[in-house]
């Protein structure tokens, strides 16, 4: 480990800095959820990261002392090279990859099968135990595709997590959702319930809770547009990228945004001690 890497590694080990580095592999998606933070859909700007950047930055993340990786989007599996990239990334650190779970036909299932032997988990969105309520927020036929894909993945030995993103849910409905995920082969520990964050399309629909910088864990997030404070940072509204949680435009070497993030976490942003009169 280099001397420059040590402070980041120490901060991760001490719990000062979260251990996961996130990547936005792309912003486009085959569906358009009503609460999507990034306004993702079939026709949006793709804002893609190259496969090589994902793999090489994963290696850098390990060298810096980070402990985990996350890949999100957009629909991540629209990147045709993703299964192989995940295999390469998992050689560096464990990976969780977020997906809407709608693309797992026979061919893709065969390509992700090798991930069963690796520290890779697929996190699939499933918001409601009933098709109509689920699909209303996500897309037509979404429920059916997801409940078909999950057992196929589990049967192949791939670890599946389920993420439920909701404003609120009655106990009885939650009980039915939990019964469903157990039936699909996903244990309680791998079921995550999280609130809708009021950014992106969710804000347009008046959905979700406001979340500001202190509310969000400082999880370094790499995108085609720069590095952000959190995966909830690089959101899009009216087609324009939000920059309020931007850290640096530089993403390589990863030490540049990682060290800037650490300075922010430690409460000493550079420049705060300079007095300027330039207009």
């Amino acid at each position: 480990m280099t001397a420059a890497a040590r402070p980041v590694a120490e901060a991760v080990a001490a719990g000062t800095l979260p251990g996961r580095v996130w990547f936005y592999s792309n912003y486009h998606c085959n569906i358009q959820c009503t609460y999507c933070l990034t306004e993702s859909g079939p026709k949006v700007s793709r804002r893609e990261l190259a496969r090589e950047q994902l793999v090489e930055t994963a290696r850098e993340a390990r060298e810096l002392g980070f402990t985990d990786l996350g890949v999100t989007g957009g629909e991540t599996f629209l990147q045709p090279w993703l299964p192989e990239a995940l295999t390469e990334m998992a050689a560096s650190l464990p990976v969780v990859v977020l997906t809407n779970g709608t693309l797992f036909g026979r061919r893709l299932l065969a390509r992700v099968e090798p991930l069963a032997e690796l520290p890779v988990a697929l996190q699939i969105s499933l918001d409601r135990p009933d098709p109509d309520a689920n699909d209303e927020m996500r897309a037509p036929d979404n429920f059916r595709k997801v409940v078909t894909a999950i057992p196929e993945l589990v049967r192949r030995g791939i670890r599946v997590r389920i993420a439920t993103t909701v404003e609120s849910m009655a106990d009885a409905e939650l009980d039915r959702l939990c019964a469903l995920h157990r039936e699909l082969g996903v244990p309680d520990d791998d079921h995550i319930i999280r609130p809708i964050i009021k950014r992106g399309r969710a804000a347009d629909h008046g959905l979700g809770v406001l979340a500001t910088q202190p509310d969000l864990p400082a999880e370094l997030t790499v995108t085609a547009d720069g590095a952000f404070w959190s995966p909830f940072g690089p959101t899009v509204r009216a087609g324009v990228l939000d920059t309020d949680l931007l850290i640096t435009r530089t993403t390589r070497p990863l030490s540049v945004p990682a060290e800037a993030l650490l300075r922010l976490v430690e409460g000493r942003p550079p420049g705060e001690d300079s007095t300027l009169n330039i207009r």
């Binding site: 309020d244 931007l246 850290i247 435009r249 550079p270 300027l276």
Partner: protein, 185 residues
Amino acid sequence: MSTVQLIEADQAPLLARAYYADGDPGPIVGALAQVPELLTVALPFIGTALGPSAIGWRTKEIVIVRTSALQQCRFCVQTHTVVALDAGLDRDQVAALRDGRPLDGEGFADPAERALLRWIDTVALGPGPVDEQARDAMRQHWADYEIVELTAVVAVTLMLNRFATALELPTGTDTLARLAAEGLL
């Protein structure tokens, strides 16, 4: 309308927020905030070069206004015309600096300032080495450390001239009102 989106306070990136703490930081910060890691390095440098130092305020404004006029930087000339007036230059002196034609020292009685004006014109207009007479005149009136700093002020101003001109940074409304009142718009 500037060439790029100028970042406003509600979209200020984390590393840039300190520069917005006292209100609108102006278009140079608004543009540089697009690249926060550049902003946090550039602004302290620019602030040190152009801000208060061992070189007097009036002298620095002579350098900035004249350099900006030679480079035809509308934003910098307008913005620093107001600052130059506040720094003690009279209206005729500012008008002479803003006129891109060569200055023979008219309106500037101090021989050190006349030597400086020749230096600015030679350095700012380039290219190639500065002429010997301009160098000798500077050495006669200014110490080495002053020549270094004054030359740095020319260089930083040149950088800002091209930056502000290329990005078409808008002049502030308060500045435009003051220039109109002074008959210098």
